[in-house]
Symmetry: C2
Subunit: 211 residues, 2 copies
DNA sequence: CATTGTTTGTGAAAATTTTCACAGACAAAT
DNA sequence: ATTTGTCTGTGAAAATTTTCACAAACAATG
């Protein structure tokens, strides 16, 4: 029911609320959360409607309660495992970034063809050879894979991860993957993103002129 | 006039066409390009309408001509410079990735507070101390900045880049930046992306059931 | 206890984006 | 020369997403 855009914003709200709670703030208004998230207050209220969390008129939303409600909505009950395929420049940065960050959504295994990388433990994550990928993913009940291999290997890497049991893919290789419809693919294409920013950085391309 | 989404797809089409031309293919139909881009043929035609490129009925689009037309539309006439702020794990991966890739949109300078990094040349890019950022960006006429510093420094880094003359920012720090409206900000939030994929990876959350 | 002012939840409107569907173009075949 | 089949360009419809705007709720104030 909730759209992809809504899910993205909900995760953002959660991150903001986690900071808010550290400041000792107990309740928050839709317009405050909106300002911190760069959205409109109506948008925030709509999004929270989606998860069925109700606030109090005049007092806003209970921060702790909302965080808990977001957790129930967004997270898998028993936690979810993630696999990383490709322990190169980007893969290592990703491992460093996610290490220890969110135990219920952690990178549990890494895979690479390079025998130099296989067997090593990078940021607490074991690196396996590619021919073990299906077995390890199945054994660890991993549902999500991050693809950080060269373009030429991305399609194959994704297919093998799926054969192991993966249902969703975060793809950094700048190539559209051709996968079954029921597999959720999220592409992060840095080249595209940089070109977009560059386009709108040009003086003649004002994103939006709300005079 | 062209929306942000359209610009994103146009850069994708260009990448696909660059591969197409290497295969010696001289013209391409909207549905072929669409299949490679993961879009619909109507979408492709709409997007190309935006740049005013006209195809031939029955023959499709001339690959070389379309690439040239996309170049004129997307690229700044004299090329554009990019700055990288933060030469950490992610910053170095980004430098490696963009090095030599697209001369007309290259990372021309990097900045960091760490004296260990300052002065070094990473993947052909010189690393400057942060107190030179405004001068170097102004001197090199850099229009776009990539922010890869810790969350706590991201807002400040962006503001300083803008003071140097930057008009668009590609932000990897998972925090919404509060910047003037005329600055274009593109956020790449890997944590959000991973949580989204994980959400849709769950068996009970089928993205869309088009039976 | 009534009043005031603020905030939620949500129908409805507006805006944006995508898809449909078909007239017109035209290469290829006969 | 005519027919055939396919592809473009685009107006219009459909779908999706966002914003508007207001009744209902209710804490705070007097
Ligand atoms: N580095 C970046 O910042 C960056 C940015 C955007 C996109 N990307 C994309 O991410 C991917 C990885 O980039 P990178 O810079 O880390 O490259 P890299 O060359 O540093 O690393 C690639 C890794 O994948 C491994 N590998 C190669 N083939 C494999 C296979 N078939 N199966 C498993 N592992 C395999 C290699 O051994 C290496 O460790 C590429 O597709 C690249 O286009 C990278
Ligand atoms: N590593 C990843 O894959 C990854 C993924 C997603 C998001 N991020 C985000 O990207 C940013 C960088 O991540 P990282 O993993 O490269 O971190 P890192 O700690 O490896 O690198 C940060 C770099 O920024 C420099 N720095 C610190 N303060 C600075 C300042 N005020 N001005 C200039 N430079 C400064 C540091 O010296 C260091 O070189 C962070 O905001 C992180 O949340 C990283």
């Amino acid at each position: 029911m909730a759209s992809e855009k809504t899910i993205g914003r909900l995760t953002l709200y959660r991150r903001i609320l986690n900071e808010t709670v550290l400041e000792g703030i107990e309740s928050i208004h839709s317009h405050t959360l909106a300002a911190k998230a760069g959205a409109s207050s109506a948008q925030v209220r709509r999004d929270l409607m989606e998860i069925g969390y109700v606030g109090h008129s005049r007092r806003g939303y209970d921060v702790m309660g909302l965080i808990e409600s977001l957790r129930e909505f967004l997270d898998a009950p028993g936690g979810q495992g993630v696999a990383l395929v490709g322990v190169g420049n980007l893969g290592r940065a990703v491992l460093a970034y996610f290490a220890g960050r969110r135990p219920s959504l952690a990178i549990r295994a890494a895979f690479d063809v390079d025998s130099q990388k296989v067997g090593r433990v990078v940021h607490g994550c074991r690196c396996w050879p590619m021919d073990k990928i299906e077995d390890v993913i199945a054994e660890e009940q991993i549902t999500t894979a991050v693809i950080a291999v060269p373009v030429a290997s991305a399609q194959d890497a994704a297919e093998r991860a799926i054969r192991g049991g993966v249902r969703g893919i975060l793809n950094f290789a700048p190539v559209p993957l051709d996968l079954p419809e029921d597999i959720h693919v999220e592409n992060i294409d840095m080249g595209m993103a940089l070109e977009k920013v560059a386009y709108f950085s040009r003086a003649d391309q004002t994103t939006d002129q709300t005079t």
